[in-house]
């Protein structure tokens, strides 16, 4: 390749990465936990398959440091403070009592595995007894005790502390310790209660006793596999292996394998890609297939893993707007949108067709991709759909050039879907407007009702999350949907203990939401994690973006023989 060609390609790439900075995946406001899986099928294609950890070579080796980059900086090391940006580092040093088992695809049935709690039992519907693992220590050598766990949970739910995460324990009435057991008494039987404990980390009481809330915010002492060495929000955060960590692998070897983890802060998408190309970063995420393909052409020796979000994007509807309160108009909107086109343009044909309320990935709970691909609104042939949409709008007495405002957070990885949806609505004749807003503005506009359609997450692999969006008292039901039938179904799901019965109720919820078109599903795209060839043991199905969860923090290992000289 000549010099001029190299420069030309560099220029083109620079343009691409500039856009990557704007579109790189970020937490969606109101997103809650997100997760995904590999082996994603094309829309209308195969049934979602369980994911696998990224390909690894040989047996795990000890040693090496993984370097990760991200835009965010750790502003506060106390998880309970609810500083979302700090989550990038929480998982290394804090741990929960239990954790979703991510060695397989957890998104369908959410199997839970022991973590700081070795086991648990449920003597009755309202009582959970967790037995703590022996020999767990905090990084400063202080042992973990049941009293300490009780303090941590009480500290979280103390209303004086005003921690947003206290809602994780909303169902809990009493918390007490007995020996090495922690006993939680619930206000009422709560199906899937354990899901709320998945990210309820245990903080160190003794650190609070020494220095109060300020010490919790700055010291970052936990029981996790890595202890904090230094954190400079302006530059880097360094972790080193915690030698007294309790975890062992299947062969009885001590965990973790890595010597350390380093986070580089303040990196935008283009800088992360350049740093990966220069072998200064080990893992980077892509949410745009076209960008990934362009990157792969430049940087070839990489491993790529793919997973599908288990939180699905769709268009929420503002029921305060008279036109949108009409079922015919909502159905027309559903029919006008061409998901197959969005899938091709936005996700390289690798997305799933989404449904309302429950994630499309949840096999057995929602219509299959094959079924969806034949349904009006989803099918590839749009002629019939568009004709039907016109008829419905005429029936509703709504002009075909109705104005519509679609809002979305600009940092939302799915924002380009919203832009495409608006393009399709404009092609149909609507005076549709696309407004990508910064997170705070989106929040405000959404609450104030200054929108017709809002692109946000509207389906999750945890069915109980449907309450937030579709129940009349749901926390993020800003469109003010109020349907007693939907409310009743959601409440029924929340009190249904049997998993098979939950599936039945879950399907009823999806059918009700779809029949009345209470939201307009789009497509659920894949996320791609690109790793250096020396990185092994990366489970992408549980980690959203680069937030290492406990599972990844202990399973990652580096093939030190393959490390570049500068990194050895």
């Amino acid at each position: 390749m000549g010099v001029s060609q190299a420069w030309l390609k560099g220029l083109l790439l620079a343009s691409a990465v500039g856009m990557a900075a704007a579109c790189s995946p970020a937490a969606a406001p109101g997103g809650g936990a997100q997760s995904g899986s590999g082996a994603a099928p094309a829309a209308g294609g195969n049934v979602p398959q369980p994911s696998q950890p990224i390909a690894q070579a040989g047996k795990p080796k000890y040693g090496g440091t993984i370097i990760l980059g991200q835009r965010d900086t750790p502003r506060n090391l106390n998880y309970y403070e609810g500083v979302f940006a700090s989550q990038v580092v929480f998982h290394h040093y804090y741990e929960p009592l239990i954790h979703f088992d991510q060695t397989d695809d957890f998104r369908v049935d959410f199997p839970v595995k022991p973590w700081l709690a070795e086991k648990w039992e449920q003597p009755d519907d309202k009582t959970w007894v967790f037995t703590l693992r022996d020999g767990v220590k905090f990084h400063d050598g202080t042992p973990l005790t049941a009293e300490g766990v009780v303090w941590s949970l009480e500290y979280l739910r103390d209303t004086n502390n005003k921690f947003p995460a206290r809602s994780n324990l909303a169902a809990v009435d009493t918390i007490k310790a007995e020996g090495n057991k922690v006993i939680l008494g619930l206000k009422a039987p709560t199906p899937n209660f354990l899901n709320n404990l998945n990210e309820t980390y245990i903080l160190p009481k003794h650190i609070f006793d020494q220095g109060g809330a300020e010490a919790l915010s700055s010291k970052g002492v936990g029981t996790g596999p890595f202890s904090l060495v230094s954190t400079e929000p302006t530059s880097k955060t360094n972790f080193k292996k915690f030698n007294d960590y309790w975890g062992k692998d299947a062969d009885g070897n001590k965990l973790p394998y890595l010597d350390g983890i380093q986070h580089i802060h303040n990196m935008d998408g283009s800088t992360q890609q350049a740093a990966f190309a220069a072998q200064q970063l080990d893992i980077i995420p892509f949410s745009d297939k076209a960008q990934l393909d362009a990157f792969q052409r430049r940087v070839k020796d990489v491993k790529i893993a793919k997973f599908i979000y288990s939180s699905d994007p769709g268009l929420a509807i503002n029921f305060d707007k008279p036109n949108l309160a009409k079922l015919e108009v909502r159905k027309a909107l559903h029919l006008i949108l061409n998901r197959q086109e969005i899938n091709e343009n936005f996700a390289g044909g690798e997305a799933l067709l989404s449904v309302s309320g429950i994630s499309a990935i949840k096999t057995g709970w929602v219509p299959t991709q094959e079924e969806l691909a034949k349904m009006p609104g989803y099918r590839a042939n749009k002629e019939e759909d568009l004709a039907e949409a016109k008829k419905l709008l005429q029936q509703a007495g709504v002009p075909l050039d109705m104005p519509l405002v679609l809002i979305t957070p600009a940092t939302f990885g799915n924002a380009p879907q919203g832009e495409q949806a608006v393009n399709q609505l404009q092609r149909f004749g609507f005076k549709a407007q696309y407004r990508a807003l910064d997170d705070a503005t989106f929040n405000k506009e959404e609450r104030d009702g200054n929108w017709d359609l809002a692109l946000k997450l509207h389906a999750n692999a945890e069915p109980v999350r449907a309450r937030n969006w579709f129940h009349s008292k749901g926390g993020t039901n800003f469109g003010k949907l109020a349907d007693p039938e939907v409310d009743a179904l959601i409440e029924k799901l929340e009190t249904t203990m049997d998993i098979n019965q939950q599936k039945v109720v879950g399907r009823q919820i999806v059918d009700a939401l779809m029949a009345k078109q209470y939201s307009i599903p789009l497509v659920t795209p894949a996320i791609y994690d690109v790793t250096q060839p020396w990185v092994n043991g990366w489970h992408i199905n549980g980690a959203i973006q680069l937030y290492l969860n406990p599972e990844n923090a202990v399973s990652l290992w580096v093939d030190t023989d393959k490390l570049p000289a500068a990194r050895k």
Binding site: L13, P164, A170, T234, S235, S270, A275, Q279, N468, G475
Partner: protein
């Protein structure tokens, strides 16, 4: 001169009051606030308006604007207390102190490079007026002025990384701990910003030089048979640079507050990036403190420029 400086310092007080009021009100008319953003991070908590109200009260956002403003200004004036970040819970001044050296280094280096380019090529362009060299410099000047510095900055990062696998070490390193690593990190942004900032200074240098070169004393210098270098450097350039000094000073003020995009591209944790992050998070105390600090520096730089101006040109007297 002393009276002039005192008078200028006093004149700056109303300017600072206006800026403090403006920034205070501007951040509050931006949609959304930190309490709502914190709630948004926890979907299950969003249906809890009482909790959000508690958070807002904890941040002091539930009180009338005038009380919030009076408290903020009062603490600054009486105790030098600029407040605490809503997120890190640290004094916002700590963040300014951490980040100022980065921005100062970025701005200083950029200024040096831009002045070097501007004076060198501005002088060449004037001395060789209407030659191919002059046209080349002027085209380059227009190019430098019209291309955004973040684009040049991105190219400087991306092209070596993807073609040669080279990138300066990522993650800011202090010049005190690793001078070479620090230099590698800063040379790219200095060039990227220096090219753009040199453009206006270069035009000013050229036009001033053209004017001075037509002055009688320069003609006299030529007539005396002095060498070209002596005439240009010793007689013409020295006098042509007086207005340029003003422009360079103003540029330095702009640089201190205008490095956001370059800081983001080059992962340099300066005040610009801090302000941008604070705006995105609606961290009012941090935004207010950063803007007020940068405004104060800008005013002081302007004053300094005026003083230097008088020193350079003894004919100028401030009364």
């Amino acid at each position: 001169m002393r009276n002039y400086i005192i008078r200028r310092l006093i004149y700056n007080i109303p300017a600072l009051i206006v800026v403090s009021l403006s920034i205070f009100l501007m951040v509050r008319v931006m949609p959304g606030d930190a309490a709502a953003l914190k709630m948004a991070g926890m979907e299950d908590a969003q249906g809890n308006p009482a909790l959000e109200a508690e958070l807002r009260a904890q941040m002091g956002l539930d009180r009338p604007y005038m009380i919030q403003y009076a408290e903020w200004i009062g603490k600054i004036v009486c105790c030098g207390d600029f407040g605490y970040s809503y997120y890190s819970k640290r004094p916002v001044w700590d963040e300014i102190a951490e980040r100022l050296p980065v921005t100062a280094q970025l701005a200083s280096g950029t200024l040096v490079i831009s002045v070097f380019i501007a004076i060198l090529f501005g002088t060449i362009s004037a001395v060789r007026q209407d030659s191919w060299l002059d046209y080349l410099v002027r085209v380059g000047n227009t190019w430098g002025q019209s291309i955004p510095n973040f684009w040049i900055g991105t190219l400087i990062i991306v092209v070596p990384a993807f073609t040669m696998g080279y990138l300066p070490p990522v993650g800011y390193v202090s010049p005190l701990t690793d001078p070479l690593g620090n230099l590698q990190q800063f040379i790219g942004p200095w060039i990227a910003m220096g090219v753009g900032f040199s453009a206006t200074t270069m035009r000013m240098t050229r036009s001033q030089m053209l004017e001075v070169l037509r002055q009688d004393y320069v003609r006299t210098a030529w007539a005396k048979g002095l060498r070209e270098r002596s005439v240009i450097m010793g007689h013409a350039l020295k006098n042509a640079l007086i207005p340029v000094v003003t422009l360079v000073g103003i540029n330095f003020g702009f640089l201190l507050g205008g490095t956001v995009t370059i800081e983001a591209v080059y992962v340099l944790p300066g005040l610009g990036l801090s302000t941008l992050n604070a705006i995105n998070l609606r961290d009012y105390p941090q935004i207010q403190a950063n803007v007020l600090f940068l405004t104060t520096v800008f005013l002081m730089v302007n004053l300094l420029v005026d003083i230097v101006y008088a020193w350079l040109d003894p004919r100028i007297r401030y009364s």
